[in-house]
Amino acid sequence: MGSSSVRRITAAGTASGAVLVGALASGTVPALAADPGLSEVGVAGVGVAGASSGAPSASIEPTRFTPGENVTVRISGCASEPSVGGQNEVFVQGDPSGFDKTGATSWAGVASTLPGLKPGNSYVTKFTCTTASGPRTITLFATVPEKHTTPPPLPLPSPPGGGHGGGGGGKRFHFGFDDVDLSTRTVVPGGRLGMKVHCPTEASATSPSFVSDPRFEETDKDTWEATGTFERSLPSVVRVTIRCAGYGHVVFSTRPGRDEVSPGPTIPRGAPETGDGSTVTGPRNDRAPYVGAGAAAFALAGTGLALRRRRVARGRS
């Protein structure tokens, strides 16, 4: 797999950020232009080489932020004012409420990040705008690193090179999505996936959908490449975890046949609220027996207070 065949999937990381942010733009492949969600990957963000010339890009400032803080979203390459396009997992609803024009095709807007962004999860917000060649979708990623992604103490056995992930220059290396290039965004049964990983130690990749774990070879300094082969029968969501020994991992997911790879699967936020407490008669639900019709009638006949409590419980659920 030559590097020229590798498309960058996602972009900018931070040197030492609490949140890693990247972006990909879509809409540069004419055959796919009818669907703004399907297209070649562009690159946006901070400090990432190889951005597709002319493709819209997005970044946020500061790239290192604490969930809940306000950030400035910067989008370039758009002739029209960008807007949030359907999916917004990074910012509170309605943010950014608008963008100010800062250049011929550059825009900036302020948005509040959601306070509930959790370590280890990746979040996506999609923006849409019109460019000279038609409508485009720009996908912004925010990844909150898990604690275990903290690199080991220096000195490292082999200091990382510059460029990716904030490595080099004496800075600590942080493994992120921008350190991974995938050969395709479309996973098909029996198909292959080329992976090029920037990692100063050793790269590996696993997926329940791989026939076997791919074997990485170091093709250049701090650069590892391998090809994985998918099974002929795939689940509806395929996940691939790529690790850099000692520096953590990133997870990509997609649905077979779709030209779309996301950093991580869709995981609902928080915990399900599956009950209104309307059968709880005591302070602890555990101690309450299974409440059948007779028991419920007994409890309701007890006091007006019980009835009042239930009304309150219903109203709050």
Binding site: S236, T241, G270, P272, E273, D276, S278, N285, R310, V312
Partner: protein
């Protein structure tokens, strides 16, 4: 952090039961659960229609659940306490990977479909009828109660599995009258078995 310990444990994800011929835990279960033989293959995608849990006397229709605008998962309407909900962005029951079905523990003054989920035991069966007419049979591996603040979303919805699994989720623990919500979730982890 899991605030409450597992209500039942002992059957690991793999260990001696992985694709083995017999699950000794099943012998401790009720007559509703026979010997467990985990499936070595999965089914094609097909959406679930009904769920049946013999030990609990549950038979319920299933609806699809998506995301709310705030990113939390939808739940079945409270005025249909016997309706279960399937997370439609995940695997379908019987398909490789984790599928997830939610149900209320109580609703509108009634014990709801998953009211007794915590009573499930290792080896108990869960049967899901699918749109393709096939029935996916699962055996309970373990049941745990976790604080909502520590709900293991990654594990429940997106665990890397090379087999078909089904997770049943409801509420449990104390009911916080201040917030109007239960403080815990009860999660039953099950795995596809051979019919």
């Amino acid at each position: 952090m899991v605030l409450a310990g597992a209500l039942l444990s002992g059957c690991g994800d793999d260990g001696p039961y992985a694709d083995g011929p017999t699950d000794p835990g099943a012998s401790k279960s009720s007559g509703t659960a026979g010997p467990v033989r985990y499936a070595t293959s999965a089914l094609a995608r097909s959406e679930p229609v009904t769920i049946r849990i013999p030990r609990l006397g549950v038979t319920a229709p299933i609806t699809g659940l998506g995301l709310r605008p705030d990113g939390t998962i939808e739940v079945p309407p409270l005025d249909r306490p016997n309706l279960a909900g399937w997370w439609k962005d995940g695997a379908t029951p019987g398909e490789k990977g984790p599928s997830v079905i939610l149900g209320h523990v109580d609703a509108r003054g009634k014990a709801a479909v998953f009211n007794r989920l915590k009573d499930l035991r290792e080896g108990d069966r869960v049967l899901v009828v699918r749109k393709d007419g096939r029935t996916a049979a699962f055996a309970v591996q373990r049941v745990e109660r976790v604080a909502k603040a520590a709900f293991p979303g990654e594990r429940v919805y997106a665990e890397d599995l090379d087999y078909a699994a089904l997770r049943l989720v409801t509420c449990g623990g104390d009911f916080d009258r201040g917030t109007g919500h239960y403080v815990d979730n009860v999660i039953a982890y099950t795995r596809l078995v051979r019919n």
